[in-house]
């Protein structure tokens, strides 16, 4: 397995990462209090959210006044809702928390929120230009757009169909997917090799690139 070029290697000097302003990336600002004892953590806090807890978290977020513009326009996708557990001595340690990640198409921004389900409040909210993974709905939309695109259809071979949808981003600013939320739909025969890749701009909902798989 000979080594090939690994772009990732060039990104940081050895042992001294390039100083980058740290975004909070959803982390809850610490409020220190009692001494830490992680050994006493309640495993139940890690349990998957129930359907009711998920609904509760989303309702709480959408009703938060800071999210009123997003809720009013209603052009957003919930990417993920999962339990979040913080360690003692954080003041929220021991609370049942939900982390909600959404993408707001009306403002082209990511929403990363932590909901305290015990208190019914949003305890952390970050709005950023980050790109969370695709929601299941976005995957379905991307596939639908690609399948119905005339240019894609002319390139497909007999028996080809969509195999999978991936979250894609361009490497350089000349690629439209560099700054715009995009998906790559991979086509091929069932259980066969990939034959075609279609890049879908999810904001304008159109195919922006059609590339034979061997040329990707």
């Amino acid at each position: 397995m000979p080594a090939k070029t690994v772009a990732a290697k060039a990104k940081l000097p050895k042992g001294k990462a390039k100083p980058t302003p740290k975004r909070t990336n959803g982390k809850v600002q610490a409020k220190r209090g009692a001494p830490a004892d992680v050994a006493l953590a309640d495993p139940a806090l890690f349990d998957p959210l129930t359907p009711g807890e998920t609904a509760d978290a989303l309702r709480t977020l959408i009703e938060d006044k800071r999210m009123s513009s997003m809720a009013k326009v209603g052009r957003y996708r919930v990417i993920c809702t999962e339990p979040l557990v913080v360690k003692p001595p954080h003041s929220l340690a021991g609370h049942r928390l939900a982390r909600v990640v959404a993408y707001d198409y009306s403002s082209d921004r990511a929403v990363d929120a932590t909901i305290d389900l015990d208190a019914g409040i949003v305890v952390h909210l970050e709005l950023s230009k980050g790109q969370p993974m695709l929601s299941r709905e976005e995957e379905a939309i991307a596939m639908s757009i690609a399948v119905s695109d005339d240019h894609v259809r002319t390139k497909l071979q007999m028996g080809d169909g969509p195999q999978t949808v991936l979250h894609y981003w361009g490497r350089t600013p000349s690629d439209i997917a560099y700054a715009r939320r995009s998906a790559a739909v991979v086509f091929g025969r069932e259980a066969g090799h990939a034959t075609l890749v279609a890049v879908v701009d999810l904001i304008d909902q159109q195919v922006t690139q059609v590339v034979p798989a061997e040329m990707w």
Partner: protein, 269 residues
């Protein structure tokens, strides 16, 4: 399927659950009754492509960026399996989407070894691509704080004072370990030994509540991806740490390939 379970076997007690995007997460893991791990997961596997051409532009920068799909509930194939083996117990789960196929493994040995691994197979879109599995570990060795991070370099273990990126250069201690996290109180340590073909690197950052999970390797356009975006200038010594082990696996029609480190707990007397 989403499930939560606790397993007590082979000197280990740990919990696991299937996540939406980070594969099987193991949390609150104890070895011989002492806390080792708060949380460990596989937040993402990105895939880069090297187009297969022989033209004069073959050395030009890659045109296409990376892509990824979550390993989790939407890509799980069949159930998460719990099986015993001689001297331990393991979790395994298969994930697939189109031409990409993975088996995630968590193996726990009764001598204190732990193997968070990922087997990669499937054809991908063509023969020239590189997989980048990103493992994240939040070790809480005998408590969360009072830890230090060390990197084996220039023939000895070197204490690291500040957050950073530490690639495997081929140098390791006599047991093959390249990185370790030490607890000052107990002098116990967690040792990471890379697969020699992983082309691995470790990002060592200060722990922050909620920093898991970014739900994407991508921060804003033009910014560093995660976990590099987490790296700042915070001090590590005496603090609570998070370690990211990133492998770079080159596909050359030689799959399956199993990436990931050997992790060993030492110093528990």
């Amino acid at each position: 399927m989403t499930a939560s379970n606790v397993i007590t076997q082979s000197n280990w007690k740990f919990h696991w659950r299937l996540t939406e995007s980070a594969g099987i997460m193991v949390y609150l893991a104890d070895f011989k009754g002492r806390r080792v791990l708060w949380e460990g997961s596989l937040p993402y596997v990105t895939v880069d492509h090297q187009r297969q051409t022989l033209d004069v532009d073959a050395d030009a920068p890659e045109v296409h960026g990376p892509w990824w799909l979550p390993l989790g509930t939407r890509t799980l194939q069949g159930p998460v399996r719990v099986q015993t083996f001689r001297g331990g117990v393991e979790l395994s789960a298969a994930f697939a989407a189109g031409p990409y196929q993975y088996t995630q493994l968590w193996r726990f040995h009764d001598d204190g070894r732990m193997c968070p691994w990922l087997t990669i197979y499937g054809p991908g879109v063509h023969d020239g691509h590189t997989y980048h599995p990103h493992f994240r570990f939040d070790f809480d060795l005998d408590g969360a704080d009072n830890d230090a991070f060390e990197f084996f370099e220039d023939g000895r273990w070197q204490r690291v004072s500040q957050e950073g990126w530490f690639p495997y250069s081929g140098e390791a201690d006599t047991e093959g370990n390249v990185w370790r996290q030490i607890d000052f109180g107990s002098r116990a340590s967690i040792n990471l030994r890379p697969h020699s073909w992983d082309d691995a690197e470790v990002f060592a950052v200060r722990y922050h509540d909620g920093e898991w999970a970014p739900f994407s390797p991508r921060s804003a356009a033009g910014s560093q991806p995660f976990p590099a975006a987490y790296v700042g200038q915070e001090e590590l010594e005496g603090e609570d740490l998070s370690l990211w082990y990133v492998a770079h696996v080159h596909f050359d029609q030689s799959f399956p390939y199993t990436a990931g480190p050997w992790v060993r707990v030492d110093g528990f007397r």
